[in-house]
């Protein structure tokens, strides 16, 4: 109830003084946005991503993203989530990338499409075959297990993309995804550029939060 001289601000005879109610309206705006994002409070940032990495990721996504998220059924909430890799343990001939997703997203999330984007730089005119292994946590002992393997022909330096399959759904449900990149030749590995400010590998997922079963009044 905003302090007006009427029973409610939108009803007959109400007048409304904007400045005196400013604090109240700002609080209302905060609450409204947090409610709609299903957040109890605003997130506190521990490791914000560099602007360079963010800009690059959005540019790469803008080119291929669906025009509007709203061409879906209005009752379904849809998100696009970009997760940047933490470079994990790397051996001499492979690089391991770790992705962490918010726990809140895990429950009731349906992954529609997940793309893995990474930047490689090879010597000129070299083509390489890149093996990409997808590992997820085993439910019963939290060890990593190989769920699928993809072979990508990388014929030029630059950004490359891989569409992940249903294993991405398992990874989002667990909140954790591990990818291992194993180039076929030794020389190739040493020339991979990973983790540079604006070349950080990332995963972009379009997810839909399963709506509760709603009854429509007719």
């Amino acid at each position: 109830n905003l302090k007006t001289d009427g029973p409610c601000p939108a009803c007959w005879g109400a007048t409304f003084d904007l400045e005196s109610q400013r604090e109240l309206l700002l609080d209302l705006a905060k609450k409204s946005i947090l409610d709609k994002l299903h957040l109890r409070q605003r997130p506190t940032l521990s490791q914000p991503v560099s602007r360079g990495a963010l800009k690059t990721a959005l540019q790469r996504l803008r080119g291929s993203r669906r025009e509007t998220l709203l061409d879906h059924d209005q009752r379904q909430e849809e998100y696009e989530i970009i997760s940047f890799a933490d470079t994990g343990l790397s051996g001499s001939n492979q690089t391991r990338l770790e992705f962490h997703f918010s726990g809140r997203m895990a429950a009731g999330v349906k992954v529609q499409q997940t793309r893995f984007m990474f930047f490689v730089q090879f010597p000129l005119n070299a083509t390489r075959t890149m093996n990409i292994r997808v590992l997820v946590l085993r439910p019963y002992d939290a060890n990593l297990t190989l769920t699928s393997q993809h072979v990508l022909q990388v014929d030029a330096s630059g950004w490359h993309q891989l569409l992940l399959g249903p294993e991405a759904q398992a990874a989002y449900s667990q909140g954790h995804l591990t990818l291992e990149l194993v180039p076929e030749s030794q020389a190739a590995h040493s020339s991979l550029i990973l983790g540079g400010l604006s070349h950080r590998p990332f995963v972009a997922a379009q997810v839909r939060v399963e709506g509760k079963h709603r009854v429509h009044r007719r």
Binding site: W12, A14, L37, L45, P48, L69, I82, F101
Partner: protein, 117 residues
């Protein structure tokens, strides 16, 4: 719809822009820079009840007619409300607590127009 300006007390859309820097949210909300939390306020005398822009459902129209007739019978008049008649989504790009970037559209967050129900 009508935007509130000057001293008119008629049903209108009151613009109210929340700058995320003002509330200290500019760090976790990447885009946009603020949120237009417009709202509807003002009078709806009987003769404008049903102004263009009310919800177009038959059910509402019939209800309005009944109310208007009933209201006509009372000396006081009024009882119609100034409500949103057109809204659009708020598109947000923000960090979640794991520093993932989330992009989403929240439906019906920005009031575009108001009218008398």
């Amino acid at each position: 719809g009508i935007d509130c300006q000057g001293v008119s007390r008629m049903c209108c859309r009151q613009e109210f822009f929340v700058d995320f820097r003002e509330i200290g949210w500019q760090d976790w909300i990447i885009q946009p820079e603020g949120y237009a939390m417009n709202f509807c306020t003002g009078q709806c005398p009987l003769h404008v009840a049903g102004m263009p822009g009310i919800s177009s459902s038959f059910h509402t129209a019939v209800l309005n007619l009944l109310k208007a007739n009933a209201a006509a019978g009372t000396a006081a008049g009024g009882g119609s409300c100034c409500v949103p008649t057109s809204r659009r989504p708020l598109s947000l790009l923000y960090y979640d607590r794991d520093s993932n970037i989330v992009k989403t559209d929240i439906p019906d967050m920005v009031v575009e127009a108001c009218g008398c129900s």
